[in-house]
Amino acid sequence: MHNDPGLQPERTDLAWRRTALTLVTAACIFLRWMPHYGWFVGTLVAASLLVALGIAVTQRRRYHRAASGIGTGAVTASVRSTAAIAGSVVVLAALGIYTVLYLPLQH
């Protein structure tokens, strides 16, 4: 019989990894801006990839934290992880709006 609690950390781990992959996808689409807007967009590509890399590097620790939390019955929510990812998305979107509205097109 499968025990559902044991799969909870795995599902959460996969959700984090999907999020990292989505960031890589966003970085790839940012790349398409580079011919039009120049080097500034390169910082957006690098920033997205860095956040994805940050998730990948810290994921093992996050998984073990969740797994041991299932054992003891409680996990202290990681405010730092969620705030960092949400903050990154806000900054990326704001830089995107700045690029669309204020950067001159190059041809």
């Binding site: 025990n3 559902d4 609690p5 909870q8 950390p9 599902r11 959460t12 959700a15 984090w16 999907r18 999020t19 989505t22 960031l23 996808t25 966003a26 689409i29 940012f30 398409r32 801006w33 039009h36 969740a66 041991s68 939390g69 299932i70 003891t72 019955g73 409680a74 996990v75 202290t76 929510a77 990681s78 405010v79 730092r80 969620t82 705030a83 990812i85 949400a86 903050g87 998305v89 806000v90 990326l92 979107a93 704001a94 995107g96 709006i97 669309v100 509205l101």
Partner: protein, 163 residues
């Protein structure tokens, strides 16, 4: 991704079947355990300040809340990527005004839902720690209205575009 994947099993039957104690019973004991095996002092400080007391909820609920937050983040990243795609790929289809309007709308939608998803996550976590009812998601109507707005701009463009 299915809906039930993100939802915690709140039924008493599910809790008993899986052998996890009810949140009320887990209370102080589980909280002490979590504190004992959390060596990262700085994170505990930030979390304690942001989460504002209460007792640790069932670990499965905390993890389900985290997954729901991540689903919102991916939604907002899709909006951001969509905004970029509109600006990058549609120069032959749209006039510059329509292109920039749709792109900025999508990017704004991504910004608001991305930022809002953190506060949604924090409010749900706080409510669970106090064993209070879960708050309604403000970002859901924002996403719905924003998506409708983008569709409305496109409909107006399709009807009025120069042939």
């Amino acid at each position: 991704m299915t809906a039930h994947e993100e939802a915690p099993d709140t039924s008493a039957a599910g809790r008993e079947a899986s052998g996890v104690p009810a949140p009320a019973a887990a209370g102080s004991g589980a909280g002490a355990n979590a504190a004992a095996e959390q060596p990262d002092r700085s994170r505990r400080g930030i979390s304690a300040w942001a989460l504002g007391g209460g007792t640790e909820p069932d670990a499965r609920f905390t993890l389900a809340n985290e997954r729901t937050f991540l689903a919102w983040i991916r939604t907002s990243l899709a909006m951001v990527a969509g905004g970029i795609a509109v600006e990058a790929f549609t120069s032959e289809l749209f006039t510059p005004e329509v292109r920039k309007t749709v792109a900025v709308l999508l990017l704004l939608l991504g910004l608001v839902t991305g930022g809002g998803s953190f506060f949604r996550w924090l409010n749900v976590e706080r409510a669970m720690r106090r064993e209070a009812p879960l708050p309604l998601p403000l970002i859901a109507p924002i996403l719905a209205v924003g998506g409708a707005l983008v569709a409305a701009v496109l409909i107006v463009f399709v009807i009025w575009r120069p042939a």
